[in-house]
């Protein structure tokens, strides 16, 4: 049975609906703020100001966004193949291992511009490996990838704890982390970029991996829409039967796609590990892998949507920290609630406003609607 609603024009599909969803999410979040006895307007002002009001704010917002772009792209690539990669968190976590191995080995051998590509390769390779195992289990044994990738998050967490309290920890140190890398394994900051826009700032964690994230967004776009591999990924994602008919090997496409997805998630580790903390710590991913799912959903799995969605979530992270600082009633947990609402409306309830919007648009501008509904409806 065909859906009784005609198709929306692209501008409404990609622009208006996410905006409406976002607006409603903030409205509901405002109610929550009201309930704890604070002013929603003031909270919203703080959020925006905290995120974009100062050079430092922008720096932090983009720093968080960098991580979310990587994990969002990772989830999106898998989505295009019809796979739900919930393992971004774990893949990013072990990706940090790749960064650390390169940095600890070569930080006093090579300059940063040699270490950077090596670290990219290291993080991507280990992230890809971590995604490859669930992919093979799915392709060959039919183990559902949602379950296996979730479980691999736990395995990743345990593995990293073991490594960070054991082999990777310097002698005589009490902290579960590696030694601090030498300066030649630090990514350059992008403070100058912000200064160019006239912001006078103290140092922010924003670093070169932000540029890499933007480059990867373009690479993912090219991969999905302009290469043969991307064509095969999309074919399989829309219709595994059609992919089989077209001679696209199921196991091959699942494994390759998941490895690309894992590699992107793994690269996320570059941002905090090489760009900011300059050492491998416990829990440096801090949920970015999961936020990536929301970012991919909100960005409609398109890089052009993922980048703004990632910046939005970066803003929630940074602005949220600002709110909890100024408004004692609003704790970090409240920020998580607001993020949850955004995810709920942008992701899970994505289709809530679609029918009414379609009806409204149909009455306004019938010409812009798809012409297929009744055809498929026919006898």
């Amino acid at each position: 049975m065909a859906t009784p609603y005609a198709k929306l024009p692209a501008w409404a599909d990609y622009g208006l609906i996410p905006l409406i969803n976002l607006f409603v999410a903030f409205a509901v979040a405002g109610l929550v703020v009201l309930l704890v006895g604070e002013s929603p307007v003031q909270a919203a002002t703080l959020l925006i100001k905290g995120a974009f009001g100062s050079g430092a704010g922008i720096g932090y917002t983009l720093y968080y966004a960098t991580s979310f772009i990587f994990t969002g792209l990772a989830v999106a690539v898998a989505f295009h193949c019809g796979l739900f990669n919930i393992g971004g968190e774990g893949q990013a976590y072990v990706g940090g291992l790749g960064v650390a191995i390169v940095c600890l080995s070569f930080d006093s051998v090579f300059p940063w511009w040699v270490n950077f590509p090596l670290a990219i390769l290291g993080s991507a390779a280990i992230g890809a490996f971590w995604a490859m195992i669930p992919a093979i289990l799915q392709a060959k044994r039919g183990s559902h990838i949602v379950i296996t990738t979730i479980m691999f998050n736990f395995i990743a967490a345990s593995l990293m704890v073991y490594l960070l309290v054991g082999p990777l920890k310097p002698m005589n140190s009490m902290a579960p982390q590696t030694r601090t890398f030498a300066q030649d394994a630090w990514l350059p900051k992008l403070d100058w970029l912000l200064e160019m826009f006239g912001a006078t700032i103290r140092s922010t964690p924003l670093n070169l991996s932000f540029v890499l994230a933007l480059v990867m967004a373009v690479v993912v776009w090219v991969l999905i829409w302009r290469t043969k591999l991307g064509y095969e990924i999309r074919t399989y994602g829309f219709s595994p039967k059609a992919a089989k008919y077209a001679g696209i090997g199921e196991a091959r496409i699942i494994v390759i796609t998941m490895m690309i997805s894992g590699a992107l998630a793994g690269m996320m580790a570059l941002n905090p590990v090489m760009g900011d903390q300059h050492r491998l710590q416990l829990d440096f991913v801090t949920g970015a892998g999961f936020v990536g799912i929301a970012v991919a959903l909100m960005g409609r799995s398109h890089p052009a949507g993922i980048v703004p969605a990632a910046i939005l979530f970066g803003m929630l992270y940074q602005g949220g920290a600002e709110i909890s600082f100024v408004m004692p009633n609003i704790s970090r947990d409240m920020i998580v609630i607001i993020q949850g609402l955004v995810i709920l409306f942008a992701g899970a309830l994505e289709h809530m406003f679609r029918p009414s919007l379609q009806a409204a648009l149909a009455s306004l501008a019938p010409k812009s609607m798809g012409m297929n509904a009744a055809k498929r409806e026919g006898a």
Binding site: A6, T227, K228, Y245, G249, M371, A373, A379
Partner: protein, 510 residues
């Protein structure tokens, strides 16, 4: 004329900009069988969905037994005495007949009383209408024709006075269809009103009293069946004269292109679907495989195309084996000149959310002309798609349009264009005209004949017996996974019908 059982006045229904039903007026007299015929997309199903409460009309009125009736849900329709037998049965497969019949009409929280009542009522209905079926049989063990009977009983059990049947014969053998028509006539004699939706002209002529023809959302004519002809109805449906018979010359069969030997295929549950099938297809001939849907034709086709694995047997393409029991790869078979138009174009032959040009290269996307190294050559892909659109008259002529937005006939042309344009030596085709409008059927048939005349080997699987008979040079009939007979193109429908029903096979076994 008897009073109207149903009268529709000025029904309008739009989906977005598409006017699916436009100012429909129709009057169906009580105690008659009324046919509604039209091409796919003419709006038949939409109209019936409005009558059965799946959709609501944007405007217009429905009168049942001369009383204005609001039908907002299927429950309202049932209350008004309207019953529907869907094209795809709405039965719970692992329930018994009785359980299915009382589903939603249990009568109370405890089932026993309801079941007893239903059993008695079922008995009466069986006697009155000759609708015999074992009330304790489990649905999935029943033949399709019997399952359909359960659907009819379900409607009657709910007190239906008006019965709507949506494409009821698509899944039936000719003999089963005849039986269905006898039941419909019996229902009519008992004073029930039957509305029969179909695109098969023959059925309209065989069983209806009156017929309404729909085209592009409107009723273009209503005729007494006795006063019209197949040709007139076809012309009304399409809006122009249609060649119902395919013109073709004598076949010139040459060397064997495709040779199937002792092929046996099982499905994922281990049930044998194709059993020890052997045949050859020569260059320059069309071999048709007739059979009721579900007798192994689909599996046979998929196995030859490399999509499904065989248990045993072999297939030779141009004398070289296809590894059907192992790693046959559809991509490799394409390179060897085997083109495949699959039965299910929506899920297999096309990726509906893709743009047309993306589908125009599906399966041939390894072709160097579409690629620049690992990158797609977008310009070449679109140019190639535009060329095919022009050559096969695919409408609308827009290679950037989403494939789902093309009509069934044009979607099928997209598949055909793709598979034929690569000049294959062997073409295997499943249900080439299922869900395709009459105008496109004519075109597709001509293309298939042209392939044959061009010296290609064509293997055709279709459940439309007319199609098999008019296109094939040799006809193989499949029943229960076996080829039970081979006939020439002049075989009568009755003869093929018996083979399709497995009559001869059963007699031989006894």
């Amino acid at each position: 004329m008897a009073p109207a059982a149903i009268e529709l006045k000025g029904i309008n229904k739009s989906f977005g900009a598409v006017h699916a039903n436009r100012d429909i007026h129709i009057e169906i007299p009580k105690g008659t069988i009324h046919g509604i015929i039209g091409e796919n997309g003419a709006g038949k199903s939409t109209l019936m969905s409005i009558l059965y409460g799946f959709y609501q009309a944007d405007s217009g009125e429905i009168f049942v037994d001369s009383k204005k009736t609001e039908i907002k849900t299927p429950n309202d329709a049932i209350a008004a005495g309207i019953g529907m037998v869907h094209q795809h049965f709405m039965l719970v497969e692992n329930f018994t007949v009785l359980e299915n019949i009382i589903l939603g009409a249990e009568g109370s929280q405890l089932l026993n009383a309801g079941i007893a009542r239903a059993r008695a009522e079922l008995h009466r209905l069986e006697k009155d209408y000759g609708l015999e079926v074992d009330p304790d049989a489990v649905i999935e063990e029943l033949a399709v024709g019997l399952q359909q009977r359960v659907e009819i009983l379900k409607a009657l059990y709910r007190g239906a006075e008006i019965l709507i049947l949506d494409e009821p014969t698509g899944v039936l053998t000719p003999a089963e269809a005849d039986h269905l028509f006898r039941i419909l006539r019996m229902l009519k004699d008992e004073g029930k009103t039957v509305v029969l939706i179909t695109h098969k002209l023959r059925e309209i002529m065989a069983v209806t009293d009156n017929v309404s023809v729909m085209r592009q959302g409107t009723i273009v004519a209503t005729r007494k069946t006795a006063e019209t002809t197949v040709e007139e109805l076809a012309e009304l449906m399409v809006g122009r004269r249609v060649l119902l018979h395919v013109e073709k010359g004598e076949p010139k069969p040459a060397e064997v292109k495709l040779s199937v030997k002792n092929l046996t295929v099982k499905d994922s549950r281990g049930v044998t679907m194709v059993s020890d099938v052997s045949f050859d297809v020569r260059a320059g001939e069309i071999v048709g495989i007739a059979g009721v849907a579900g007798n192994g034709q689909s599996e046979l086709l998929e196995t030859i195309a490399g999509i499904r694995k065989a248990i045993s047997g072999s297939v030779l393409l141009d004398g070289r084996p296809i590894d059907v029991t192992g790693a046959a790869d559809p991509g490799e078979l394409r390179d060897r000149g085997l083109a495949h138009v699959p039965e299910d174009r929506h899920h297999v032959g096309l990726v509906l959310p893709f743009e047309e040009n993306e589908n125009a290269m599906l399966g041939y996307h390894d072709d160097a002309k579409f690629l620049n190294g690992p990158f797609l050559n977008i310009e070449a892909i679109r140019a190639d798609a535009r060329e095919k659109i022009q050559k096969y008259d695919i409408r609308p002529a827009d290679c950037r349009l989403k494939t789902a937005n093309f009509s069934g006939g044009n979607q099928q042309k997209i598949v055909l264009a793709r598979e034929m344009e690569h000049d294959p030596g062997v073409l295997i085709v499943g249900q080439p005209t299922r869900g395709v409008d009459v105008g496109a059927i004519e075109f597709i048939h001509k293309q298939l004949i042209a392939m044959r005349d061009g010296g290609k080997a064509v293997l055709l699987v279709s459940v439309e017996l007319d199609e098999i008979r008019s296109l094939s040079d040799r006809i193989l009939v499949m029943f229960d996974g076996r080829v039970v007979g081979e006939r020439g193109p002049d075989a009568t429908e009755g003869e093929l019908g018996l083979l399709m029903a497995g009559v001869e096979a059963r007699e031989a076994a006894e």
